[in-house]
Amino acid sequence: MNLLDFANSIEGYLLVSSILFVLGVFAVLTRKNAIGILLGIELILNAAGINFVAFSKFHSAAMDGQMVALFIILIAAAEAAVALAIILRFYRLKQTIDADEASLLRN
Amino acid sequence: MANNSALFAQTLTDWTQGTFLAPVPLWVWAMVSALVVIYLLALPFGGIATYIERKIAADMQDRIGPNRVGPLGLFQFAADAVKMLSKEDYVPPAGDKFLFNIAPVLVVVGSCAGFVALPLGQYLVAGDVNIGVFYILAVTTLIAPGILLGSWASENKWSLLGGLRSAAQIVSYEIPVALSILPVILISGSLQVGEIVKQQGWNPDLPIAANAHFWNVVHNPFTVFAFFILFVGGLAETNRIPFDLPEAESELVSGFNTEFSGMRFGLYALGEFVDVFVMCAMLAALYLGGWQLPFLELDKFWITLPSGLIALIHVGVFLVKTLLLVFVVMWLRWTLPRLRVDQLMGLCWKGMVPLALFNVLGTAIWVWAFKGQSMIQVAMGLFSGGGSSH
């Protein structure tokens, strides 16, 4: 299978989504910045969306996967809005958005 | 892409059958047609628009305007282009070079990509994508990050303020714009621009019930409002006066493009003009019947016209409508004062969004109540007792 066909197969889609997911995990774990964590989460959500769409096309040839992907996009939008509002609030409180500083409830 | 009927490209493929160009695949023709549209239409328009704008401004201020280069100064824009290309490629030393470079490109890409789905004539459309209107809305959103990143990369507080204003303005006004497009989609039941335009024709020979419903702007009382909201929202989205706060000269020097010069500035300017054109073309297509000549079906004229002539007339009609709207935009620039930031946001969230929502609701009820018939159809149906339109 050449590279072009691989790109247009479910394996290709799944590889992209896996890499996207792992990079998202990587970003989530390594960023100090809360916004950076959010970026990682967006990558993870996109990876999930790609999976759904890929299976929707290659395996069911039906709409259900796309519907779920649509809902993922909408939920991601809501999540981003709320998360950024929280980050702004936190910034106003602590003058920083370092995720490690959000530890009032530790121990 | 893969599923769009690229009519332009298809036509090109058909023409080249049997010639030495036959092996060229469809997708190449699709790209070629897209490039043709951009280079032959978008970019010249961007240039000519600067000339027109200056001329109109001069007329309104009782000046002469550009008159040195070429007859009536017509080649002024070419001279400007040459000037811009030959200027120093300056990047602010403290600025972010990478972002500074890609930001204007984003703006131009965002505005030019919208051209692809605009139907110039009945069969003249680069890619009549089936999510047409939505596609235009989607690609034009690229403009906002372009402006925001460019302003940030300039390392200049005027720029940054202008960029933040611009992004906030664009994001906010996208809502009434989208909501004002919804009535049209409700009426036509399609996102495809070509289909929407096709439905706005008017054939005097057909009985009312079977006829198309003329221009969407007079489809029902709500679409009249929706048209104006879309127009005003388009002004705001393209940062035109009276919503040109991002580049308010009196406050922010020149706003987000303060630090830009040369071709990068030219790209910003081009992007803005193309965006204006796309907005007006969209308005014309969605609400003013696009290439439809009012009350005439050219296909069923009393003399049979050559198809090429019909296509040309269609393009002409469409361009006339669009350019009239562009003229109004420029006219407004010298007529209205600039709004304050709070006025701007208040107008959007307190005025236009509720009104646009009301329009959507009203149109939905109208479509439900009159089974999709327009005001004209309803009225004529009343007068002729439901018979034919004669």
């Binding site: 790109a7 479910i10 990587f26 990558l43 096309k57 069911s60 | 599923n3």
Partner: protein, 173 residues
């Protein structure tokens, strides 16, 4: 489908993955955000090739026009405005992150492809027909038909998110 078209898809996938790589490792948060935008665009193209035209446009509108701008705003509002070096010093979880990354990619991909093999693939003609058919109307019907409950739930979620975000971000009286 011609190879040229497939090439576009391949390029989009490379764009997606490459941009995501920059998002993950670039220390400059603003660059991460910008490349996240490119990654989104790549994903949108992938959607388009998977027959999800409406979804692709939604992806662009929501992510590029909404989420990215919000993120850029948040970055610009929370960083010192003119501190351009938005260095994000690598945290102490770099080692587990790398280990996880290296371990998860093959496992995930293998698991997912196994899954894909277990599930019966759609017949090719049906697949291409599906990929070429417009989806807007079907999505509209599904939203008000079979998927009306999640749709309504999402509307309530979005309203709640809207109100909550405004409440959280409002200035102190």
């Amino acid at each position: 489908m011609s190879n040229g078209i497939k090439l576009i898809l391949l390029l989009a996938e490379i764009l997606t993955v490459g941009s995501a790589l920059v998002v993950a490792v670039n220390p400059n948060i603003l660059y991460s955000a910008v490349f996240l935008l490119f990654s989104f665009l790549g994903v949108a193209v992938m959607f388009l090739f998977a027959g999800a035209d409406f979804l692709a446009a939604t992806q662009v509108v929501v992510y590029v026009g909404g989420v990215t701008i919000l993120i850029l705003f948040a970055i610009m509002l929370t960083q010192w405005m003119y501190r351009l070096k938005l260095r994000d010093v690598g945290s102490k979880f770099i080692v587990p992150a790398v280990v996880l990354a290296l371990g998860l990619v093959p496992m995930l991909h293998r698991g997912l492809t196994d899954l894909a093999r277990m599930v019966k693939a759609a017949p090719p003609e049906k697949m291409s027909e599906f990929a070429a058919s417009p989806k807007t109307m079907e999505i509209g019907k599904a939203l008000l038909g079979s998927h009306v409950l999640p749709f309504e739930a999402i509307t309530i979620l979005l309203l709640g998110a809207l109100v909550g975000a405004v409440w959280l971000a409002r200035p102190k009286s």
